[in-house]
């Protein structure tokens, strides 16, 4: 742990903001934000719909370009990289999504091999490594299945294999278990925890489900209106904001006494 604490952060964002120009005018999806995540951490981004969680996450691999600020991930400043170096850097940053986003015309193997193919890995090697990655997520018997032939949980496993096949330092998860049943969700979250423990992969998890954050994350950012309201240490959660308190109450289970974050009963 001490070695890690001294190491360069896995993710370091300085004064990062994102403003979308829309027909209805500008939308500040993320207000100027600082954030540092150490290698090997599992961090949650928690908040209601529209809080800016996805925006913040998508800035971490430049799926969105920041309006202001500097984004350093896995040892490089993404905001100053050219096209080709940015693409190479992205291989160190895996990402999974709520709706899996698999290629429907490729088999499970083809989908995983895609991440190697774009990196220029030869056909034989990428098939071998893709097969290996599918084995790691427990899908060795579904190698030749198309996404349409797989369950939601199996599709997410394929997506995880695709994200991990390049052995990334960082894994970004955008509501990765929101479309799955509790049983499947838990087994996938357990897998992510093991991944973190065994490979030291830094994981950032966007969710509006406190159970997910409670089970997996070491600390959580509570987000609202495009800003991080507070950080909560999940091993000893003592939220100060009404929003943070509401989320924690939710983890224990709602009662008639639960106070809504806007103060109403």
């Amino acid at each position: 742990m001490t070695a890690r604490a001294n190491a360069a952060p896995a993710i370091d964002m300085r004064n990062v903001s994102k403003r979308f120009q829309t027909e209805a005018g500008p939308v500040d999806a993320l207000r100027p934000t600082d954030l540092t995540i150490a290698p090997g951490e599992i961090v949650g981004l928690l908040g209601f719909s529209g809080a800016g969680k996805s925006t913040l996450l998508r800035l971490m691999n430049m799926l969105e370009t920041p309006t202001t600020g500097v984004v350093q991930v896995a040892g490089a400043d993404l905001t100053s990289l050219g096209e080709a170096p940015l693409r190479r850097q992205r291989r160190k940053i895996g990402m999974i999504f709520q709706l899996f986003n698999l290629l429907s015309h490729e088999t499970a193997l083809g989908n995983v091999a895609f991440a190697l193919r774009v990196a220029g890995v030869g056909r034989r090697e990428r098939r071998e490594r893709a097969r290996e990655a599918l084995k790691v997520v427990g899908l060795e018997d579904k190698v030749d299945a198309y996404p349409a032939q797989l369950s939601g949980g199996q599709r997410q496993r394929v997506a995880i294999a695709r994200a991990l096949v390049n052995e990334p330092d960082v894994l970004l998860c955008d509501e990765a278990t929101s479309a799955l049943d509790p049983h499947t969700s838990l087994s996938i979250l357990r897998f992510l925890k093991r991944l973190n423990a065994e490979r030291g992969t830094t994981i950032v998890i966007v969710t509006h489900d406190i159970k997910v954050a409670d089970y997996v994350c070491q600390r959580c950012a509570i987000m609202q209106d495009g800003a991080i309201r507070e950080w909560i240490d999940m091993s000893d959660p003592r939220p100060a904001s009404p929003l943070g308190q509401f989320f924690l109450e939710t983890a224990k289970g709602w009662t008639d006494e639960t106070v809504l974050p806007d103060g109403s009963a």
Partner: protein, 220 residues
Amino acid sequence: MFDALVQYGDLLQKAIWETLLMVGITMGVAIIVGGPLGLVLYLTGRGGLMERRWFNEVLGYAVNALRSFPFIILLVILIPVTRFLVGTSIGPRAAAVGLSVAAIPFFARLVEQSLRDVPRGVVDAAISAGASYAQIVRLVLLPEAMPALVSSLTITAISFIAYSAVAGAIGAGGIGDLAIRYGYYRFETEVMIWCVIVMFVLVQLTQWLGSWAARAVDKR
């Protein structure tokens, strides 16, 4: 009924080949020029990978302008161009010029729409895997849109089989021409009927082939 077939069989056969030639050239040009045009419309459009607002607007207007010409008027306007390209303004090769010019924007818009229907998240996943734009087009957009692209091709082919018959009005050759010259001007009703039957069969075959191909490439 079949007497006419015996009497005009050769003419009908020639007309079928001329129609196939016209539609074949038209489809070739639609794919080679209209396809990339549709891709560019998609890529430079709103939220596209290479969004270029102004360029896209101008291109969009040009495509719409071309599409808004009534087909027969387009053919007439293009006569000088056709003379220059083919050396004559009659016959299937000449008609193919007008047909092609009409087919380019027609197919381009269908391609654009087919690409739009590829879920944005799939493209996001490809970007985060480190894919380049060229790789995204080649390995994600085109194959993911393939069933829709095949359907677009089918629609274009069927539309331009019909248009090729319209071109018969200015001496394009082909089945439409035969129908007008014999069926209409010479009151050979049976020739007219045979022409309609042949058109019907052509359209059905195209549809059948297109549906089969679309199913074959669809893994969803």
